[in-house]
């Protein structure tokens, strides 16, 4: 029955039916068919529970923060400043792309926002400085995915919500893999440009005085990171409270630059509510689906099934990772998290893996899904920002970064400490 449900779900979803509607439909069908109780009447109680959750309040807060940074030009200033510092490395601006996506990622929780924001500022440089477009675009698409790995992260919050894990532990666990992955992206660029120098464009080497004059523009993102993440770990705020502080801080930055006006606010509000309601409709309905799956015993069934297979845990997890890489080609990241978490995480726990550790592996798998064709949101975003040329440029250019992501996943398998060292140290 689970197989039928999953196939039905994928088929409907791929036909362009609203993902939230598909989840709703599948919940109702499963609930009415496989449960001897009609589960619909609990829709209100269960979805009020999900809709009135303090942890999820962080979602609109992070989106609002990103909107303000984008619309007040703070993000663009940051890009230009970083450029002065990393431009000299072979690969030039592409390192700027990775560094600014990483830094922007450290202030916002969304991959799409990160790719769109940095992409918008960076793309005009392709022609201006004669870069080979594909690797350049790939660095933006892949760099953008850091938005959900380097804390704060909306994906991590949703994972924590669905699995009842600690956001603080997940943030700590994501820290080293997140920044390491950024470095690995830069290494990929360096190697690619050493092999094929035509990928790199002209590099204007900035002098030291320019560099130091650019420094103040790096302050807002660094301060925001300290406010949003620091406030959690020095112990004055929970993740949602920290997001509130981040919103207020970015508002203050905007005001101090005299770039906040009614128009900027209106547009930020629109963008925030658009994305938030899109995310939340899926999360609320997926939460109800989770309730239905638990009530009809489907989750137990799958866990028992996996248990009975008696696979070696490492074989099993490699299979699960491969399954996600394939599924991730066709599914969009948020859908992937919400639909599969309730089913897969109990299996992972039964196999003896840690749910914080898997959260990090999972988020990297989601990152991979964002840059694998045919459905890769960040590929679309970067292509849309570029506005011309062939889509396959972006796809091919993202490949080296995809390899790095898979490499990081295997590093995490071999050395779980990469993720678990920080949370263990601080607990």
């Amino acid at each position: 029955m689970t197989v039928i449900a999953v196939i039905l779900l994928l088929l409907l979803a791929a036909s362009g039916i609203y993902v939230a509607a598909v989840l709703g439909l599948v919940s109702v069908i499963l609930g009415e068919t496989f449960s001897f109780l009609p589960l619909m009447p609990s829709l209100g109680t269960v979805s009020w529970g999900a809709s009135s959750n303090f942890l999820l309040v962080a979602v609109p807060l992070f989106i609002l923060m990103g909107e303000i940074l984008l619309r007040t030009g703070i993000a663009a200033d940051m890009f230009n400043a970083l450029d002065k510092w990393v431009n000299w490395i072979p690969g030039g601006l592409m390192h700027t792309n990775v560094a600014s996506t990483a830094l922007f990622a450290a202030t916002t929780g969304s991959s799409v926002a990160t790719a769109a924001t940095i992409g918008t500022v960076a793309v005009p440089n392709i022609e201006k400085h004669g870069y080979g477009p594909s690797l350049f675009l790939g660095s933006l698409a892949a760099g953008g995915t850091l938005g959900i790995l380097i804390p704060p992260s909306i994906s991590i919050i949703i994972y924590a919500f669905l699995t009842d894990s600690s956001v603080n532990d997940l943030y700590l666990a994501a820290m080293i893999p997140g920044f390491s992955l950024a470095v690995m992206f830069s290494v990929a660029i360096y190697i690619a440009c050493k092999i094929n120098p035509s990928l790199s464009g002209t590099r204007d080497k900035a002098n030291w005085s320019e560099r130091f004059r650019a420094l103040p523009h790096l302050l807002p993102p660094i301060i925001l990171f300290l406010v949003v993440i620091g406030s959690i770990y020095i112990g004055i705020a929970t993740p949602t409270e920290a997001a509130s502080l981040g919103v207020v801080a970015s508002l203050i930055f905007g005001l101090s630059r005299k770039r906040i006006n009614l128009e900027v606010l209106k547009r930020s509000f629109e963008g925030t509510m658009k994305t938030t309601s899109m995310v939340l409709l899926i999360v609320v309905v997926a939460h109800f689906l989770n309730f239905v799956l638990q009530t009809i015993g489907a989750t137990q069934f799958i866990t028992d099934f996996m248990d009975n297979l008696g696979l070696n845990p490492y074989v099993a997890i490699v299979l699960i990772i491969a399954f996600y890489l394939v599924l991730g080609m066709f599914m969009e990241g948020l859908t992937l998290i919400t639909v599969t978490t309730p089913i897969v995480v109990p299996v992972i726990l039964a196999l003896g893996f840690d749910q914080i550790w898997f959260g990090i592996v999972f988020v990297i798998l989601i990152e991979a899904s964002l840059i694998t064709p045919p459905i890769g949101i960040n590929l679309f975003v970067v292509q849309a920002v570029r506005g011309k040329g062939e889509f396959r440029d972006v796809v091919i250019g993202s490949l080296p970064f995809l390899i790095m992501m898979i490499g990081m996943i295997f590093l995490l398998l071999l050395f779980p400490g990469i993720a678990m060292w920080l949370p263990n140290l601080l607990n």
């Binding site: 600690s166 959690i232 112990g235 929970t238």
Partner: protein, 328 residues
Amino acid sequence: NFANAKDLLNVIGNVSVTTQFKTLQKPFWTEKVPDASGGKIKVNFKGWNEMGLKGPEGLRLLMKGQTQVASFQLGHVSGEHPINDTTDLAGMSPTIDDFWKVTQAFRPTLEKFYEDNFGVKILTMQSFQAQILYCRDPLKSLADMKGRKVRSSGVSQSDFLSAIGASAIPMSFTEVQQGLQKGVIDCAITGTLGGYSAKWWEGANYLYTLPINFAAGVTAVNIKAWNSMDPSNRKIIEDRIKAHEQAMWDLNRSEGEMGILCNTTGPCPEGKPGGMKRVDPSNADMKLLKKIMLETVLPRWAKRCGSECAKQFNNTIGKVTGLSAPTS
């Protein structure tokens, strides 16, 4: 294989990290009952946190018949009706034996209320160990609690905290450990062993063993579902539920002092001792707790619950404790 629908039960258990869930509830519903029925009763069993619920939903799901059986903490539904707070008012029961007496005295009233108003039959009334304070900073007495931020889980606990000048912070159970560690809150209240299992001792250094209340809870069944069950199956549950209930009380009794030892110096059968400093309440504080209960907690509860409720309190709990709730 679901041919006889009467025999399939959805059971929502307590929060799944507790020893009560692991050593009693889970074996009872997933092994004892199905085995005794020779497989005629099939049970689908999950803790409420595993269903993605926040805690208070259990009652409503039972009322609508969305699950046949559910366990939930009465404090979590004290907003649904103040009568849920009655047996477990902060400061009312100094020991678990006092709490047991109070529970037995009020049980018929609560059972009738649940049947008449919610269509729900109470199967067991249980609790956890004594609910005590886990604090980051030193404290010698309740007077030191003034100005501290404390995580509470129920209306009557909040009333108690406001009376000692502390501020009550609502926070989900899973957030507390980090909250204590990082100082988002100064103290938190939970059971003696529950706090050990959730590793609160990693963030808190002082354990104040004043028993505030007991996290009273019930396991209940939707009456329609109950009556439509096969009578022989119903009897299987009826015959075993009393012993199950007794086992939960025995577990709490044995875990009360053990939890305190686990959090502090040991010995601890559950793992390594937490190393917290144990602070036992003075007689003065025991008296202060009683005074706050009489002057703040009980009157506020009576006002919320109404005069009928207060009269019932006086006729039942009043008889065994000598307490009297204002009826106007």
